[in-house]
């Protein structure tokens, strides 16, 4: 008790002689020894730097002595000050978010990202702010954090829930994420994710598979090979089977399709176009919402099963018109 009293006296002397920092440290020592020391807490409520700490000190005093009217009045003042501070911060954050939204609309995503990040650090940027952050941030962790905040405000938003599910899935599956980066032509990030995948425990065969992918991407990077968008690849590969069908149809129609056309085959030509598209879509690991809508695949790149099913459907749509054409030729040969 003697040490505590001595410290208190020293602290009071220091406070009265305007040595505030020394006094604050001494009062802190006192409350460490005796957390029930009302006088020390009272002094601390005026000496601490942070407004929240001052409020906490006042609350502590009132816990020890609920009849301390002076401190109760002081606490009310501090809380009012805090409210004003929060309102100011909120206004500033709202202003920042508004500017960020305008900048994002103007295509200045980097600047918009900086502003909305700053707003999120000081204050809750609100629904629009979180939405914007989820939209413009290149960092997956940050996107997930922002989406969680959006979902906290609008729990019914299915598209946000779906996107959050997809991102969380990709965060757990670096190989799939790497495939997305590869598809986008971001080879460096793809390699980074494949390395992340290598760190995860797996079979030796899988490990070798990932290693081969890294080597392939590094070679691609070294040779400076251009990125071809998945849309281009799908359009290109989808055209092959219909072109073959078109050539065969011309021969079947006596080279001149206008003379006496058989409409059913021209309709079937459209079926081969659809089939060709499905085959190409399944072959290229393109990310699309359709994988989620049809197969509830959260990665939206198509699981092997989903892609196989789509490819089989595509092949059936391609082969049936060909078979019909062959059947018609067969009938012409043997029954005409």
């Amino acid at each position: 008790m003697k040490r505590e009293e001595a410290l208190l006296q020293q602290a009071l002397t220091a406070a009265r002689s305007k040595h505030e920092l020394t006094a604050r440290d001494l009062f802190l020592e006192v409350v460490e020894i005796d957390p029930q020391n009302e006088l020390a807490w009272m002094w601390l409520s005026g000496l601490l730097d942070d407004l929240d700490d001052c409020i906490q000190a006042c609350e502590r005093v009132l816990e020890i002595n609920p009849h301390n009217g002076q401190i109760r009045q002081y606490l009310a003042q501090l809380q009012e000050k805090k409210q004003k501070q929060l309102a100011g911060q909120r206004q500033a954050a709202e202003k920042q978010v508004r500017s960020a939204i305008e900048l994002a609309k103007a295509g200045e995503h980097e600047t918009a990202l900086g502003l909305v990040r700053e707003a999120a650090q000081t204050h809750d940027p609100g629904l629009e702010g979180w939405r914007l952050l989820a939209e413009v941030s290149p960092d997956m962790e940050e996107q997930i954090h922002a989406l969680k905040n959006v979902l906290a405000v609008t729990p019914q938003d299915a598209s946000v829930r779906e996107r959050l599910g997809r991102l969380s899935h990709l965060q757990r599956n670096p190989q799939e994420l790497a495939a997305i980066y590869e598809e986008q032509g971001n080879i460096e990030k793809a390699i980074e994710q494949y390395y992340r995948a290598l760190m995860q425990p797996q079979l030796k065969k899988q490990w070798r598979g990932i290693d081969r992918k890294i080597v392939r991407l590094k070679m691609r990077q070294a040779e400076n090979i251009a990125h071809v968008s998945p849309r281009m690849s799908i359009a290109r590969l989808a055209a092959g089977p219909p072109l073959l069908f078109f050539f065969m149809l011309l021969i079947h129609e006596g080279i001149n399709p206008l003379a006496d056309p058989e409409p059913i085959f021209w309709l079937e030509f459209l079926v081969t176009v659809t089939g060709g598209f499905l085959i190409a879509f399944a072959a290229i690991r393109a990310h699309h919402r359709i994988w989620y809508l049809l197969f509830k695949d959260v990665s939206t790149s198509g699981t092997p099963l989903a892609r196989t099913m789509m490819a089989i459907t595509g092949w059936m749509l391609v082969l049936l018109p060909f078979l019909h054409l062959f059947y018609a030729a067969f009938q012409r040969l043997f029954f005409q």
Binding site: V228, L243, I251, N256, A329
Partner: protein
Amino acid sequence: MLPLNDTEPNRYSRFSFMTLILILANTAILFWELSLPDDWGVIYTFGSTPSLQWARQGAGIISTITSMFLHGGMFHLVSNMLFLWVFGRRVEDACGPIRFLLFYLLAGTSSDLITALVLPGQDIPGIGASGAIFGVMGAYLLLFPEGHIRTLWFLYLIPTWPRIRAVWFIFYYLAIQIIPAMNIYLHGADYSIGYWAHLGGFISCFSIFLFLRPEAFARYMSNVGV
């Protein structure tokens, strides 16, 4: 001058098995043909005849496909299959087996279509894989302009096998098609070789870009070796 082998290795696959399957199928069909007492019936039914196609008679597109697998004799088959092996192996590697098969059929169909368009009155059936193989040669020219092949030459009956640029070899074979083809078109000359079928197949080579693997296409677009 005959091609012997493409001297460059595959890039994407270990072995071009569709090319081998096509060679085996063509060979098996020739042996089946040879086993028949009268193979002319088969050739007339399953060979491709432009006049019948215009009249919507005969086997139509069945004959378009079957004529690609019929050959007139062992020399016809061996020379065609040699070309297919030399030029098809790496083209298949750049496409993948299924897409290569589709391209091969497309080239054969295109060769049939061009023959029918240029020579609508021809009533002699055309047979052989050469139309499709010319398509494959054209694709090789587009994809591997720097490619080299081993060839067999006879200089005063002495065999020699130099490695030459494939582009010269293909241009040579293309050039020797053009004059007889024009002669057929302008003067109605009669040849036992389907020169227009060869040119028709060759024209289809541009469609190879619809069948390339995405990676091979990206390499082509980047001007690095496919």
